[in-house]
């Protein structure tokens, strides 16, 4: 308690000097708070997401065609589904597409273009084009075409109400939309799409439901091995197990490298701060040699003196740490404006920060404090 009073008094006496010394600690601790907040926020959001999507007993196998031409015609077949459902531990198998597109010829008035044709069937697809809501739940032969395709087929003329031919079927153009070079250029209702291209669009996903008590990983591996050996289109494409945590992992990777960078900044600034603390403590010790001498003469042990200066350096760092936590909190508020998830400051990260500041104080204050404790008493008293 006495040491704390002495420390605060000494820090207050040299406010400016000590504030500058604290700057490194403030930056370091603010960085630590930010890293931990982003990391914790990310973990929390992922845990929440994984908890919501019931993927706990599902394994998804993907099929990737070797060439674009075979993409529409190859994939998982009903035979493959039967094969997979025989795999030990598999409850049922469901085939699906992750994208409903085919690559085929579109023509009108003698102009021709080979392009992707997509289906719109869900409300979520509506935002792809402004007027696509017209096409939902419809089995009409209406399509939307991209401006690029319109330009190619009709030039500068309006395309609305005009017809295009896809394969042998004729469609009425109901609107246009803008798109990138390689995107789907034609959209039609899902029902129509399924009707026309049934069998043409390969099923490129097989979703396996794993029996309870079975290892997802083991069942997935067994299924993969079997489909690789006996899949109908094994020569046209590759099979793989979809990793639901893949996206998370790749983001984690980015996050990790950012974390390492910020940790490096934090580490360097804490190191520099520590050296600053050591320097300021050396100055404090040499300025107060007379005081040390008096205290020693009146009964203070070397240990008393060491503890006094250690307390001072720890208090200095903890004040810096608290300021760092406050600034870190403000930074996290700022970061949250740019992050897809919410960075959170936990009690744990505040405790870590305080612990780190204590440690810096202890570590870098020790040598000067020890110097103060070990100084020759006669020498200390001789000086004025």
């Amino acid at each position: 308690m006495e040491n704390l009073t002495i420390a605060l008094r000494s820090i207050k006496k040299n406010k400016n000097r000590n504030l500058l010394t604290m700057l490194g600690i403030i930056i370091g601790i603010a960085s630590v708070i930010c890293i931990l907040a982003v990391g914790d926020g990310f973990t929390q959001s992922i845990t929440k997401e994984l908890g919501q999507g019931n993927t706990s007993n599902k394994v998804t196998l993907d099929y990737q065609a070797n060439s674009a031409d075979s993409a529409d015609s190859s994939g998982f077949t009903s035979g493959d589904a039967a094969l997979l459902s025989d795999v030990k531990g598999v409850n049922d198998v469901k085939l699906s597409n992750y994208d409903s597109t085919v690559f085929t010829n579109v023509s009108s008035q003698g102009n021709k273009m080979k392009t992707y044709i997509g289906a719109i069937g869900k409300k979520s697809d509506v935002n792809r084009t402004q007027r696509s809501s017209l096409l939902i739940d419809d089995n009409s032969y209406n399509v939307l075409i991209s401006n690029r395709l319109k330009q190619k087929l009709f030039g500068n003329d309006s395309a609305n109400g005009k017809t295009i031919q896809i394969g042998t079927d004729v469609f009425v153009i109901r609107g246009t939309f803008s798109t990138d070079e390689y995107s789907t250029n034609v959209y039609m209702p899902k029902k129509t799409f399924n009707h026309i291209f049934a069998g043409k669009s390969g099923k490129n996903q097989a979703k396996l439901t794993v029996e309870s008590g079975q290892s997802k990983k083991a069942v997935g591996q067994r299924a993969l091995k079997k489909i690789k050996a006996s899949g109908e289109y094994k020569h046209e494409g590759k099979y793989s197990i979809e990793d639901p945590t893949k996206a998370m992992k790749s983001f984690q990777k980015v996050l990790n490298s950012v974390t390492y960078f910020v940790a490096l900044v934090a580490g360097i600034s804490l190191l520099i701060a520590g050296i600053g603390v050591m320097n300021v403590m050396y100055i404090s010790v040499s300025e107060r040699r007379g005081e040390i001498g008096i205290r020693r003469a009146f009964g203070a042990t070397g240990k008393n003196i060491r503890n006094q200066f250690l307390t001072e350096s720890i208090v200095l760092c903890v004040i810096g740490g608290i300021l760092g936590i406050i600034i870190g909190y403000l930074l996290v508020l700022l970061i949250n404006a740019f992050l897809p998830f919410k960075a959170v400051i936990t009690i744990y990260s505040i405790l870590i920060s305080l612990l780190v500041s204590c440690a810096v104080g202890l570590l870098f204050g020790f040598i000067p404090a020890n110097k103060a404790a070990k100084s020759s008493l006669v020498g200390l008293l001789k000086e004025e």
Binding site: R9, A297, F298, G299, G302, L377, L381
Partner: protein, 227 residues
């Protein structure tokens, strides 16, 4: 009681600051040590005050030798038995009178906070500094500052006071007042006082005077100084 037997002190293996000093100081004695600058006075009182234990020979304080003691026990004995008064007061400039006097009590385990206040108020009264408790040293005269230093030296009720040129920084009138205070402490509390001075007038306040020159001690020989 202090007993010094054949104590010598050599600096840097060459300079012999003290050679074969023999000195006995009885309890309650007021001793003045006189001698010119560089004669070894300060070296001797550093040893007597347990500030320095790097010497040869024997020094007993209450029949105990502390030459080979560790820092902790030396510090505790110093805190309990010895009070120091220095020539230039050596007060902490940013501490009040009260806080300066409190310093020895911080390191003695026997005092509680309320005890401290009582004890400090008592010694402030003894040295005549009532009403100055919250002043900083810079707000006091030299004589008053030395009174604070004396109060600090006696607050732990020490057996011995070691004073190094206590009037060196004071005019002669104030110096005499301080010496009166020392004499009062010596007579009232039977405190042993060992005082270094080179002022004959100041030394006359003591019961006994010893002289030191070139590291050698001469008992009661005025001529050593005059030579």
């Amino acid at each position: 009681m202090l007993r010094v037997k054949k104590v010598s002190k050599v600096y840097n293996r060459k300079f012999k600051a003290l050679s074969d000093i023999d000195l006995d100081v009885n309890d309650g004695e007021f001793l003045a040590i006189m001698g010119p600058s560089g004669s070894g006075k300060s070296t001797l009182i550093n040893i007597l005050g347990l500030l320095d234990n790097d010497y040869t020979g024997d020094y007993y304080l209450d029949n105990q030798e502390y030459k080979d003691s560790d820092d902790v026990s030396m510090s505790h004995i110093r805190g309990d038995k010895i009070g120091f008064v220095f020539q230039n007061f050596k007060l902490l400039s940013n501490y009040t009178v009260f806080e300066n006097i409190e310093i020895p009590l911080i390191y003695s385990k026997t005092q509680t906070i309320t005890d401290r206040q009582t004890v400090i108020n008592e010694v402030i009264e003894q040295v005549g500094l009532q009403g100055k408790e919250n002043n900083l040293p810079s707000e006091l005269s030299g004589g008053q500052q030395q009174r604070v230093a004396i109060a600090r030296a006696i607050v732990n009720n020490p057996q011995i006071i070691i004073a190094d040129e206590p009037t060196g920084a004071l005019d002669s009138k104030t110096g005499h007042e301080i010496m009166d205070l020392f004499r009062h402490l010596n007579e009232t509390f039977n405190t042993t006082i060992i005082m270094v001075t080179h002022d004959k007038e100041v030394a006359d306040f003591a019961m006994r005077t010893v002289y030191i020159r070139d590291g050698k001690l001469y008992q009661d020989q005025q001529s050593v100084v005059d030579k």
